[in-house]
Amino acid sequence: MPPFLRPPGARSEKDMKARCVSCGLCAAVCNYACIEMTPDHIFFGGGTPKIFQRKSPCFLCMKCSAVCPTGALGNVSMEEAGMGRACLDRARCVDYRRNTGIMCWTCYERCPLKGKAIVLKNGYLPEVTERCVGCGVCEYVCPVAVITVTPARDLPGNRRGGNT
């Protein structure tokens, strides 16, 4: 299965699976059709909501978490989405490489939390801050594919995201 995130406001993996009844209300309200209720297993279809960020990321409209009737997705604000954390590979980012003549900033421009989750260090170098909620938009738009979002379920404790 390709890498995927849980929708904004999702509880811990175990708690979310215990609550989700696969009603699909979150997928039905999603403006961007990014939430997929695909089965967790080929023979035993749990059908919990997934966001395949490389196919279609979450733009943090927060409609899904507001409609979830079971509380599998908590009704939270954009800043509390808690889907994961983006990691930007500076060594390969065109903004960090010298003499490229490119001022990309695509991740910064497209970030739903522009200026909070991704800031411009020294006014021109994109940097992921600890306020990143892991919506996956930067991973989706990055023209050189140097951003990877680690889903919240794979983040140990409260590890701060950031830049390598």
Partner: protein
């Protein structure tokens, strides 16, 4: 004296087909950004009014030890319908029941003499629910029994087809069971296995004054061996019996009332206590 009562079955078939169609249309409406109706047979939202499968709510309670107000209200409304009208969900709304009845009608000619087995009746369904809930509570906190919901698979397959333009492989259990019922000539899923019907059947047998089929022996004109009402019941129940296990299985479809319509009209639907 009023004229002969209307036949119930055309109304019921319209309701069944309407619900089956509704759950195919709702995902398409959702994609057109109309979300006043949304969801499936586990949870359905009608312009803010929740409806939920009581068993899935019970499983969330057993697995997560907490349920939301929306879930409780949804399950409450579904159970209230059963309390007042009996388990009409099974015979008037459930798409599996609809297709199962059609398969039974087509296959019935080949398998004659389908009678109700007293030994394995409601108890096997109750056992599945108890084992499932215990498994959710002890080992696997996920709504396991939702995997056995045939209306659930029907509506999820429709959502899948419309939202992602692909078939849902697991939903093949739905036609597979229909084929098995067609070949065996017995509606064994609804009778012995369906866990979703247990809670609504129990709620639907609770109040003596609920809507149900009443039998008045004085009006019955059929000779003993000839029982058109019994022959008509797709679940193989005896509508004249007062046996509790048979009462639990009756889903108020009204086929026996229709069969009795041209005879003594000894079987009728009514609310209130027995006369």
């Amino acid at each position: 004296m009023k004229g002969p009562p209307l036949s119930i079955r055309p109304f019921r078939r319209t309701a069944q087909a309407g619900v089956a169609l509704l759950f195919a249309v709702v995902p398409a409406l959702n994609r057109m950004e109309i979300t006043a109706l949304s969801g499936n047979f586990f949870f359905f939202n009608i312009a803010g009014i929740p409806l939920a499968d009581p068993l899935s709510v019970l499983q969330v309670a057993a697995g997560a030890f907490s349920v939301t107000t929306a879930m409780c209200a949804g399950a409450g409304l579904a159970l209230l319908l059963a309390l007042l009208m009996g388990p009409v969900f099974c015979s008037w709304l459930c798409p599996y029941g609809f297709f199962s009845e059609l398969a039974h009608a087509l296959g019935a000619k080949r398998a004659s003499g389908t009678t109700f087995s007293r030994s394995a009746s409601f108890a096997s369904k109750l056992l599945i629910v108890c084992v499932g809930l215990l498994a959710v509570f002890l080992f696997a906190p996920v709504p396991l029994l939702n995997q056995l919901s045939m209306p659930g698979w029907y509506s999820r397959a429709m959502q899948h087809a419309v939202f992602y333009r692909e078939a849902l492989a697991c939903a093949l259990i739905f036609p597979a069971l229909l084929a098995a019922e067609f070949l065996s000539g017995r509606r064994f899923w609804c009778l012995y296995l369906c866990p979703q019907s247990v809670l609504i059947s129990l709620a639907g047998a609770l109040l003596p004054g609920r809507l149900r089929v009443r039998f008045s022996g004085r009006s019955c004109t059929c000779a003993k061996p000839e029982r058109p009402c019994r022959a008509r019941c797709s679940l193989g129940l005896d509508p004249r019996s007062a046996d509790l296990r048979q009462r639990l299985q009756c889903s108020n479809c009204g086929d026996c009332v229709d069969a009795c319509r041209k005879n003594g009209r000894a079987l009728r639907f009514s609310f209130g206590r027995d006369a």
